[in-house]
């Protein structure tokens, strides 16, 4: 990955593979005992279901934004074989991804609107919703093959003034999900 430009088709292939793995793992996790899904490492820390709901709350901003953007601009910006990540989009995506040793590089505080215990809580249904969300990302990535991902922008979860290029609006939330899957696996092992 380089800010100089990425092969769009390869980027889409890789993101789709990540999503398929996340969907498969989510289906396995949904069948685990309820007690394991509810288990908290400490009383005020998230359980696995709340991590799923957190991903729904944050990634949902991008699926909704991308869907609207593609509907509005479909066909106006034909495919571009190169995607050049935006400055903030690329920095944020890299900050999300775990280091090569699997450790999380940046810890951050969760905004209230993305904190399930302060919103509507979480349940088994949160996993089902997450699977549907990944399927929607996957379908949007297919639609993205015919569109220039440099030319369309989408509101980011960092706040309404920060917009991501469409390519980063896929890369960032999917990297964020990868990060949280590490947390889920840690919670389930505990």
């Amino acid at each position: 990955m380089s800010r100089k430009g990425m092969d769009t088709a390869r980027m889409i292939d890789e993101l789709e593979a990540t999503l398929r793995a996340q969907i498969a793992r989510s289906k396995e996790i949904a069948r685990l005992p309820s007690e394991q899904l509810l288990k908290r490492p400490e009383p005020n820390k998230w359980n696995a279901l709340e991590v799923f709901e957190h991903m729904n709350l944050s990634s949902g901003i991008y699926t909704r934004g991308l869907r609207k953007a593609f509907e509005r601009h479909a066909g106006a910006h034909p495919a571009n074989p190169l995607f050049k990540p935006g400055r903030i989009g690329d920095f944020s995506t890299r900050a999300m991804l775990p280091r090569t040793d699997g450790q999380i590089s940046w810890r951050m505080n969760t905004m209230r609107m993305f904190d399930p215990p302060k919103q509507q809580g979480a349940s088994h249904e949160s996993i089902a919703r997450f699977i549907r969300l990944c399927e929607e990302f996957h379908a949007l990535l297919e639609a993205a093959r015919g569109t220039d991902l440099n030319r369309i922008t989408v509101v980011s979860s960092l706040g309404p003034i920060i917009r991501f290029k469409a390519g980063d609006a896929f890369r960032f939330p999917i990297a964020h999900q990868t990060r949280h899957f590490l947390q889920i696996e840690r919670l389930l092992r505990a």
Binding site: P33, S34, E35, L37, L38, R40, N47, L49, E50, E53, P116, P117, Q120, G121, A122, S123, H124, E125
Partner: protein, 187 residues
Amino acid sequence: MDLVRRTIERYVPLRTDEWERIAPRWAEHAFSKGAAVCAVGQVEERFYIVKSGVQRLSFPHDGQDVCVGFAYDGSWCGEYASFISRRPARFDVVALTDSVLVGIGHDDLQRLYAEVPVMERFGRLIMEELLLGRATREIEQMSLSAEERYDRLMARSPHLLQLVPQKDIASYLRMTPETFSRLRRRH
């Protein structure tokens, strides 16, 4: 699933072949603290037995949640009126603690009523129980003083104090939190 069998057998005896038809219709659902089991406006999909945790039944009124009941280990949970009528719920059911509920969907329960006669008897008995509970509560609400309502509840469900925030119990008893703590100090 043991919980479901034990719960049903509190009301009706079950043969093994009957239980084998019943068991696959029930499934566990986990809710983290604060999650909505059912919300006003949604149609309640399931009828639940509580495996663990505490849930609150309430309705929004004048910007506040008026609490009308609690569910905990071994009791029923869900928005029954909506479950039966298939109309939008008028109550919120919220998990006050992390909760595991074992639920059956409306269609599955109807099918069991048709296929396993003893289940229909079970269904009648629990509806009777729920109806008697409502009738008792209605009389208590209209005829008893705050102090008497408090005493009745403490005699019937003393463990509630450990499980549920006091403001919810006060709301359930239709009194202010101040009256509630005054009555509590009296004991």
